[in-house]
Amino acid sequence: MSAPEPTTGDTGTTPAVRMRGIDKAWGDNVVLRDLDLDVAPGERVVIIGPSGSGKTTILRVAMTLERPDDGTVEINGRHLYHEEKNGKLKPASEKHIRSVRSDVGMVFQHFNLFPHMSAVENIALAPVKVQGRDPEQARQQALELLEMVGLEKHANHTPGQLSGGQKQRVAIARSLATDPKVMLFDEVTSALDPELVGDVLEVLRDIAEDGKTTMMLVTHEMGFAREVADRLVMFDHGRVLEEGPPAQVLSDPKEQRTKDFLRAVLAH
């Protein structure tokens, strides 16, 4: 990236995502409190935690769907919500936010596909409208992405004609189309019938194995987390309660809260 690189502290490399002192509350309901989180480039971080622990909110903050009340977010060394002027951090303009946000993509629990467009149109929209690519070329790339997620036969189908698992794979292809460096996955299998979960996880595995994309995943699929995550982060009450390699956190959690949570999740 051509952006000026601010100092990144002790790690030496610029984190793909760097959050500092994030606060977020709705009225009295504090969702995130003074949260710090770094994700290294290419790292795959799985976030777990009870509902209301703030794990989804942290993804939404990184995607600018929720503005934090306080704190800073950097994406690949560039401030997301701030601009540096005369060495001071000022609230960022919409233009600046858009420029930084282009490095981030997100897949939602409920797909949020555009129902009035076919699968291929859903995927080609952002490359054409955001990146200004040639429509025919974008279409070809969209078809390749559909092939990657195993849906090339459904290119001209609208979301209403697809099953939940197919929709989610189209949604993943759509968010990959602009080639974001950081991908956020918010409980992407939670709304699916159990027998459709496997296909979607297969696609996520492919992305993870590629190794180029930084991934932050919120999920309840612990087997999948153990398999693909470099790091497992346990959230509780808007903070990181515990983190570490998935095998260690899953089989030998330090915190009682984590033990209780894992027992509840793994029970079914």
Partner: protein, 292 residues
């Protein structure tokens, strides 16, 4: 059920297809439809502004035969005049409503503007227009506006028909803006969030994502307003628009054939409103898409 041609496409990807960038509603790309509506309403306004619109003179052709309960010969003799007057009414309705759907969208968007300086006056204007009678607005525009000296004359002195079209445009524009607002609110939050996640700009978000989903939801309401505005357009008779009501009034005062004339009027409205309602229902069905 008419079927969207894309749905019957064979799944092979080289089948004829819509380009990835052009959203479609019932076969008409939204952008072309939107631009068309704007151009059409501006053209209608310009023609009326420049040429004053068609003014029709009515003459006494025949007197009523007092020996019959309903004089069909009288009706027949006045049918050409009636049709000319009906044509004036249709011009006023189509021109006024074309203006209304554009003004309505502009008002709906301004009302949602994040800047209070824009959204507050817009909200006030919409409430003001909706809360005052069309007849009063007509009188203000026709008798009041020309007396406001500091406005350039070409902008304050309008012909009768132009005044009616402008009044219908703003009056129904205010109503349409409420319909658009409901349609826009009916687009799920997740659609906006997906647009943000894809980093779409404001314009692309509206043109590609929100409006193509909102407008099909708005169409039934717009159709109702179109027919309502057609029924309100005869108010133009009060500012001398030579529409059907003007024709019936002036002719009745000279021939006393009130029963025949107002019956013609009623049948004339029926003859236009019923087919229009039918066509609108068909349009709605074509434009609906399968929702998730």
């Amino acid at each position: 059920m008419s079927v969207d041609p894309r749905m019957t496409d064979p799944v092979s990807t080289d089948a004829p297809r819509t380009p990835a960038t052009g959203r479609r509603i019932g076969g008409i790309p939204v952008t072309i439809g939107g631009v068309g509506a704007v151009v059409f309403s501006l053209a209608a306004l310009f023609v009326v502004w420049r040429f004053g619109g068609g003014s029709v003179r009515f003459e006494i052709r025949e007197t009523r035969d007092p020996s019959v309960a309903f004089d069909w010969g009288f009706v027949w003799a006045y049918t050409p005049d009636f049709l000319r007057a009906l044509w004036v009414l249709i011009q006023a309705t189509v021109g006024g409503f074309a203006l209304a759907i554009v003004i309505g969208l502009v008002l709906a968007l301004l009302r949602r503007a994040p800047v209070k300086l824009l959204s507050m006056p817009t909200a006030f204007f919409i409430e003001f227009v909706r809360s005052t009678p069309l007849l009063v607005q007509l009188f203000f525009l026709f008798f009041g506006l020309p007396r406001i000296g500091w406005i350039p004359e070409s902008l304050r002195v309008w012909s009768s028909l132009a005044t009616l079209i402008i009044a219908l445009g703003f009056h129904y524009g205010a109503y349409c803006s409420e319909a658009y607002r409901a349609g826009i609110d009916s687009v799920p939050k997740g659609q906006w969030e997906a647009a943000t996640a894809l980093n779409l700009g404001t314009l692309a978000t509206w043109a590609q994502v929100v409006l193509p989903q909102a407008i099909p939801n708005v169409l039934p309401a717009l159709g109702n307003f179109l027919i309502a505005s057609f029924k309100d357009a005869p108010l133009g008779a009060s500012i001398n628009v030579t529409c059907v009501l003007f024709f019936a009034d002036t002719t009745a005062s000279r021939t006393f054939a009130s029963v025949e004339l107002y019956t013609m009027l009623g049948l004339g409205f029926l003859a236009v409103s019923l087919p229009a309602a039918f066509l609108l229902r068909r349009l709605e069905r074509r434009i609906g898409y399968e929702r998730t």
